[in-house]
């Protein structure tokens, strides 16, 4: 018997083939997807074989040693003589005023010059702070004809100095950019005593705030004609500073500018004079020694004639110069930079180079693509020789110009007070190559060579006590070879982080209008979303570079991740444009002078492993910080002379300022005479070499795999988005339609006059009961207590209850003849109802669940609807009676705004899909015509409703026919109930699939049933996926794109709930519950739907049997199959 019933079930798969087939399909799909994923990763992992010509790519081979040309006579070495003679004359005629200030008596000063833009300066300071007593950072500037004092202090540095017992003595200079501004000082020197006094006290306050020990004044290009005015001005300054316990130090250049100051007149109140014993040959001069021994000695003899010897500090050079004798450019370089040049040019192996008489400065020559170079360098040997002379003069101290450029061995020399012995000489000989990054060349396109190699030099002691040396093997430091600045009128325009669908096209429009070709460093992730922009970039002649896939900091990633980042972007560019790129720019740290080897490692990796050429930049107007288009332009103007590659951004936020600044920048560059060129032109190679077409080679296959992968993924994402859009639109339309229909129906009902029936028809109320002993008496009394004025009978069938249900019924029956009680052995609810139906004698039958309580008017309201002879069945308004926990409260709201609202609306178009078993009324003839209740689905109420529709009966809804039902009170019970409903719904939808899109039943076929399919099954099943995407979007930061959709859904839910509550006269505040329901209740429903789907697929007997039995035993309410909420 059970077997027979079960075998007719919808979805039953008696042979049991479906489930294994389904599992096989799922398994193999997963395997296929996995293999595709692995293949894709492999395709991205493969390193591209492409490389630029070695010329561009490698540092080696660029530099060539040149034979040392005959040195030009050092005419400047004797410049001091003029001053010496004058000084002697002065000294003989004037009695010297000796300063009595304490500071001069105190110990020897060891001062370091410091710049904040070179990380090597900080590194040097950290290592040697113990060897120093004072630090001179470039903090103060005096500029403009109005003598403005600008402070650019560095608080961390000040703190560092304080913590390490270093006194800071900041430099005050009249330098702006590369322009000395003498008028800033001269105006002040000519100003009134009042103005000078004001400046002096301001300076004292500023220095106090900086916790400085004083100030080191370094003015240049001043007019010696004003010497006495400067003296008076410095006097005012000194008075003010001394009153604040601050010192006044004055830097004095060792050249014609020596005349600028009246040293002897200044000596009484200037605490220290700092003699700048370097730059004998510098900017504007022909190549020559930075500070020859003879020159230093000469000037030392001059300064000895002025002031106290102890008042003087000898600032010794520790920097070097690289003169390009072809282009006449001068680069200030460090000792390490000089060594790297010598090493790569092979100067050491081809004859070597030395530091020896007469200059005791180092010198070598080499050539590269940009011409011939002459390098003059200072090292520990020259430092030793100069320091020796300084000490003989018994001066007040020594300064090092500047930290970060020095030969590291000078610190050993500085600590040495005794003459050099063999042991000391041996100490200076090895040239240890550390991790300090060195730079060669000019430009922002770089090749990296991280190799480093120690060197060695040979030192010799001369009879005079001087040291000289020979470089046998120059050390090699990690090096960046800079290119791309050969033509000063060429400038590269680069855009990072795109492409972006909003900003990139606008940038491209501007560039197109002006015929400008730029270079775009694209982020793979963005390019993947907008491949059409990649193609447009190429079509319009721009160049594309790799900017990683996710724009993460590559320096912090393991190499495998770096490879994936670069590989994925590379493959994407290939797939979309048919071209490859050789250009790479690392996210972050793109300024052209990285000083940390750790920062360089991604660059080196990209170059070594992936064959990329690295493009950095020096013109960074920081457009991303949105300072205003004018400021962006101004920054480009200020930085243009210092660089040849401009960095802008075409993505990553609101780029409207960049867009506004771009035409201004292009106009300005055009006016300046610059041509804006892509990277290939900066490198002087062809566009085809930078971005070659992909060709058939060993990697063609991998390229196809990668391309397919990217396309599939995009297809998937696009489908998902389309679905989101369509679903949102449908939900909105359906919600509005429902609201409108329900509201209209309500109005129609209200307008309809109450039916005054002459003869109320006889009604049979049918109840099936199983173990409902606690409540059945109440149910029966409520039904019998009806105000229905026609003939009423109540038939209850006890389905073999074991809790005395039958006895309860009989007690009630004893007092009311209208009640007829029957019993049967337990055989299911439908069997019980079938039995009840055979006993019923009325034309109208009302079905009632044993746990559902009627109101007095319920039966009358139901029957009123049946006055229409075409009406086959009427649904009542089932409401949850046990609203005392979250689960039942949720259900209550769901009944009101899901089931009842839908039904109200559907009535308008006669397409109610279910007349619930808990409370419904049927016309007996309709029921019979439909063949009664069938048993091949779990939702016989839905089944019969759809049957009635097929037979052209109308199906109505009586919202005022309220019955209070008992809802499951636990999640588990609810889930069980809902699985049954969902499964039953699916069965009915499937069984009556001919009704879907059936034009004979338009409302049902095109509205009610598709709604059930889409909103109650598909959409509910997808809820977890949508929520997961939302959560993921929160993590990766795309939330802004998705939130509107979710907000729309939620708002609609809320509005509908409010409307439903209003229509059902329930307090509106209950509608708020829809919000937590959205996040908890919905997941349950999703689980339910999936469970049902799996069961349907499985279609196995074991599933039916269990389900059927549990349905029989615990059934407690109606099957509300088609009313799962949206």
């Amino acid at each position: 018997m059970p077997h027979k019933r079960v075998s007719s079930f919808v979805f039953l798969d008696p042979a049991g083939h479906r489930w294994p087939l389904f599992r096989r399909v799922v398994f193999w799909s997963a395997v296929l997807l996995g293999v595709a994923g692995v293949l894709f990763l492999a395709a991205v992992w493969i390193r591209p074989t492409l490389r630029l010509p070695a010329m561009v790519r490698e540092l080696k081979g660029h530099l060539k040693a040149e034979a040392l040309s005959a040195p030009t006579p050092d005419t400047k070495a004797v410049n001091w003589q003029r001053f010496y003679e004058q000084s002697r004359a002065v000294r003989e005629g004037v009695t010297k005023i000796r300063s009595q200030l304490d500071s001069q008596a105190s110990g020897k000063v060891r001062l370091g010059f410091y710049v904040d833009w070179d990380a090597n300066a900080m590194a040097s300071l950290r290592e040697h702070s113990a060897e120093l007593t004072h630090l001179a950072p470039e903090w103060l500037t005096l500029s403009g004809v109005h003598s403005n004092l600008t402070v650019e202090a560095d608080a961390p540095l000040a703190n560092y100095c304080a913590a390490h017992g270093l006194k800071t003595i900041p430099l005050l200079r009249n330098l702006v950019g590369d322009q000395w501004q003498p008028e800033a000082v001269e105006t002040l020197a000519r100003a009134s005593a009042e103005r000078q006094g004001k400046f002096a006290s301001d300076l004292a306050v500023t220095l106090g705030n900086l916790h400085a020990a004083g100030v080191l004044i370094d003015f240049n290009e001043l007019d010696p004609a004003l010497a006495s005015k400067f003296t008076a001005f410095f006097h005012t300054l000194a008075d003010s500073l001394h009153a604040a316990k601050l010192e006044l130090w004055l830097a004095v250049s060792m050249d014609d500018e020596f005349k600028t100051y009246e040293i002897d007149a200044l000596a009484p109140f200037v605490d220290r004079f700092v003699a700048l014993l370097f730059d004998e040959h510098t900017e504007g001069d022909l190549p020559g020694p930075v500070a020859s021994q003879e020159w230093c000695e000469g000037w030392l003899s001059v300064i000895e004639e002025h002031g106290e010897p102890g008042q003087w500090i000898a600032a010794l050079g520790a920097h070097s110069y690289d003169w390009n004798t072809t282009t006449r450019e001068l680069d200030t370089i460090s000792f390490r930079d000089a060594m790297t040049r010598a090493s790569y040019a092979g100067v050491d192996t081809e004859g070597g180079f030395s530091v020896e008489a007469p200059t005791y400065n180092g010198r070598f020559e080499y050539s590269d693509d940009r011409g011939s170079h002459e390098v003059w360098f200072l090292d520990a040997i020259s430092f030793f020789d100069q320091l020796r002379t300084v000490r003989q003069s018994n001066l007040g101290g020594v300064a090092v110009n500047r930290l970060g450029t020095e030969d590291p061995a000078i610190w050993t020399v500085l600590l040495r007070t005794k003459p050099a012995d063999d042991e000391f000489i041996a100490q200076l000989a090895p040239l240890k190559a550390d991790q300090t990054v060195t730079h060669v060349g000019r430009g922002e396109i770089v090749s990296v060579d991280l190799s480093h190699d120690d060197g060695v030099r040979k030192l010799m002691r001369e009879e005079s006590g001087m040291l000289r040396g020979e470089y046998l093997d120059a050390p090699t430091y990690p090096a960046l070879y800079h290119q791309g600045a050969a033509d000063k009128s060429k400038v590269g325009l680069t855009f990072d982080d795109g492409p972006d669908p909003v900003w990139t096209p606008r940038v491209l429009d501007i560039l197109k209008e002006r015929g400008v070709k730029a270079t775009f460093f694209v982020v793979g992730r963005n390019a993947e979303a907008h491949p059409e922009l990649l193609r447009r970039l190429i079509a319009e002649g721009h160049e594309i570079g790799n900017h990683s896939y996710t724009h993460g900091n590559l320096a912090g990633m393991p190499e495998w991740r770096q490879r994936l980042e670069l590989g994925a972007t590379e493959r994407l560019i290939e797939a979309e444009t048919g071209r490859r790129t050789t250009l790479f720019r690392p996210p972050y740290n793109a300024d052209a002078t990285p000083s940390d080897v750790a920062e360089l490692s991604p660059l080196e990796f990209a170059q070594r492993e992936m064959g990329y050429t690295v493009v950095l930049e020096k013109i960074d107007p920081q457009d991303w910080s949105r300072p205003g288009p004018e400021v962006i332009l101004q920054r480009v103007k200020e930085q243009r002379r210092g660089g040849s590659i401009i960095l802008l951004h075409d993505a990553g936020g609101d780029r409207s300022q960049t867009l506004q600044a771009l035409p201004l920048i292009l106009d300005w560059l055009a006016e300046r005479g610059d041509s804006v060129v892509p990277m290939s032109e900066l490198l002087n190679i062809s566009h085809e070499e930078i971005m070659p077409l992909t060709q058939r080679d060993a990697q063609s296959g991998w390229r196809v795999v990668a391309a397919t992968g990217f396309r599939s993924w995009r297809w998937f994402v696009e489908t998902l988005w389309t679905f989101m859009l369509v679903a949102t639109a449908l939900v909105v339309v359906r919600s509005l339609l429902l609201a409108w229909l329900a509201w209209r129906q309500q109005r129609a009902c209200r307008r309809r006059p109450a039916i005054a029936m002459e003869n109320w028809p006889a009604v049979s109320v049918l109840i099936a009961a199983y173990n409902e002993g606690k409540i059945v008496a109440k149910t029966l009394r409520a039904a019998l207590d009806s105000d229905y004025s026609g003939t009423l009978e109540v038939i209850i069938v006890d389905d073999g209850s074991t809790d005395g249900t039958a006895a309860e019924c009989r007690t009630v029956a004893a007092n009311d003849a209208r009640l007829h009680v029957f019993s049967q052995p337990n055989s299911g609810k439908s069997a019980a109802l079938r039995l009840a139906l055979t006993e019923a004698r009325s034309e109208i039958v009302v079905f009632l669940d044993a746990d559902t309580l009627f109101e007095r008017a319920t039966i009358r309201k139901l029957v009123e609807e049946l006055a229409d002879p075409e009406m086959g069945a009427v649904a009542g308004n089932a409401r949850v009676g046990n609203r005392h926990n979250f689960v039942t409260r949720c259900q209550s709201l769901e009944y009101i705004c899901g089931f009842n609202l839908d039904r109200r609306a559907y009535t308008a178009w006669n397409c109610v899909t279910v007349v619930p078993g808990a409370i419904s009324a049927f016309r007996r003839s309709a029921l019979d015509e439909a063949g009664g209740f069938s048993h091949d689905t779990l939702a016989e109420d839905t089944d019969i409703t759809l049957m009635l529709h097929k037979l052209r009966w109308r199906v109505g809804y009586a919202p005022d026919a309220v019955a209070w039902t008992e809802a499951p009170e636990t999640w588990r019970a609810l889930a069980k109930q809902r699985v049954r409903w969902a499964f039953g719904t699916m069965q009915c939808l499937w069984k009556h699939r001919d009704l879907t899109f059936n034009s004979e039943h338009p409302a049902l076929g095109y509205f009610a049933l598709p709604s059930a399919w889409f909103f109650h099954l598909i959409l509910v099943a997808i809820v977890p996926l949508a929520d997961a995407i939302l959560l993921w979007s929160l993590v990766i930061g795309y939330a802004s794109a998705l939130w509107p959709y979710f907000a729309t859904f939620l708002l609609l839910d809320l509005l509908l709930a409010a409307l439903a509550c209003g229509l059902d006269h329930v307090p509106l505040r209950r509608a708020w519950l829809i919000v937590p329901m959205r996040f908890a209740y919905r997941w349950l429903l999703a689980w339910v739907v999936w469970q049902s789907i799996l069961r349907a697929v499985r279609g196995a007997l074991v599933g039916w049997g269990k389900l059927e039995r549990s349905g029989n035993v615990t059934e407690s309410g109606s099957t509300e199959s088609a009313a799962l909420p949206k």
Binding site: G144, V145, H146, P182, E183, E186, T187, R190, E221, D223, P224, A225, D256, K259, S489, K637, R640, R641, W668, A670, E671, R672, G673
Partner: protein
């Protein structure tokens, strides 16, 4: 009836068509005329002088060879003075053997007229000595024709108005092309004084060749020193005038005190009035350009701000000086050689001459106020 109505309609529609054609023709003709007139280099007599007002110009400290013209320097100066300048002056020294193409192009793009001092001398460009390999006689002898022609070709290629001052301040004694170095007051073979006659011959030679290359966009300014040195009859400006056909502008340099050794601080008016009058008498119509004007900052000798204020006041007297159409300020600071041997200038050794507009707050203020006057034009007049 029908047909007549159709006729009326026909008539009215053909009227509309004719009117439309006329309008179209007018538009096309005026567009064409505009295009024709706007073509560069078609009109040999481009009005580069304004009908009213004085074009404001400056030399903006373009370095030792006066040719390091950069947009940054121009913008810095104009920001400092608060005024776009209609004329920007720079030099082209023959020793470089080039045409300053980048400089004039930059100045034109900036919306200004380039004034180029085309000086026939050789490196190291030191004043105070006689002729070198670019002597006037070698120019007349055709030795440098290749360079002149090349220069003319480049000027033609540039195509926009430029004003050229060849051999400026020839009535002085410091540049090697001065009349004093070419026989001075000796009688020339063809009559007249040999110094000025040699200069004029060289001028005509140069102008003829450049014009022969088709560089009609070049306007020539005869650019003398305010007072001749020596101030003798043979050396007066008029003696150097090569003829109305060879000159577009008449110009002069005017400097107040320039060196620390200068004893006095001569006022602007006395340096301006006489030379202006002298030039107006050479030719009755040619516009006059103050090709260089400036003064050093020597507060103990005189007040630079007042001097500049007086300069603007004088130049503003358009009733008295109606032909003054341009004034070019000399913005430069230089250090006088430390190795001065000449006894008279020994005092200058190593000291600075600060002719910059911002040598003092008051100087800058005076200049800013002066150029802010509407009379001083910040832009050249538009080409017709």
């Amino acid at each position: 009836m029908k047909s007549s109505r159709r006729n009326t309609r026909l008539e009215s529609s053909s009227l509309v068509a004719v009117a439309g054609l006329i309008v179209l023709a007018i538009v096309l003709i005026s567009l064409g005329a505009h295009w024709w007139l706007a073509r560069p280099g078609t009109n040999p007599h481009v009005a580069d002088q304004p009908a009213t007002g004085i074009m404001t110009g400056a030399f903006m400290d373009f370095g030792d060879t006066e040719d390091d013209v950069t947009l940054e320097k121009i913008e810095t100066f104009e920001q400092l003075t608060g005024k776009h300048h209609a004329i920007i002056a720079s030099s082209s020294y023959w020793g470089e053997q080039t045409f300053p193409a980048a400089n004039v192009a930059l100045i034109a793009r900036h919306g200004s007229i380039p004034l180029v001092f085309w000086s026939p001398w050789d490196r190291p460009y030191k004043e105070g000595h006689g002729p070198d390999k670019f002597s006037l006689t070698s120019i007349i002898g055709g030795i440098h024709d290749e360079y002149i022609d090349r220069w003319g070709d480049s000027a033609k290629a540039f195509g926009k108005t430029m004003v050229v001052s060849f051999g400026n301040e020839m009535n002085g004694s410091w540049f090697p092309w001065s009349g004093v170095f070419y026989g001075g007051d000796k009688t020339a073979p063809g009559g007249g004084f040999q110094g000025p006659e040699t200069f004029k011959a060289a001028w005509r030679h140069v102008v003829d060749r450049v014009r022969a290359r088709g560089a009609t966009n070049v306007k020539w300014v005869l650019h003398v020193m305010d007072f001749s040195m020596p101030n003798d009859k043979w050396n007066l400006a008029a003696k150097y005038y090569p003829g109305a056909d060879y000159v577009d502008w008449l110009g002069f340099s005017l400097y107040g005190a320039q060196f620390p050794s200068d004893e006095s601080y001569p006022d602007f008016f006395s340096c301006f009035d006489w030379p202006y009058t002298e030039l107006t008498q050479i030719d009755p119509v040619k516009p006059i350009m103050l090709c260089e004007w400036g003064v050093g900052e020597f507060p103990e000798k005189g007040n630079k701000g007042d001097w500049i204020r007086a300069a603007f006041q004088t130049m503003s007297d358009t009733a008295k000086y109606p032909r003054l159409k341009a004034a070019v300020f000399w913005h430069e600071r230089w250090q006088n050689s430390a190795n001065e041997v000449d006894e008279s200038s020994k005092e200058n050794a190593g000291k600075y001459s600060d002719l910059r507009v911002n040598s003092s707050p008051d100087s800058l203020h005076a200049y800013r106020e002066g150029v802010a006057m509407p009379l001083f034009l910040g832009r050249p007049p538009r080409d017709p």
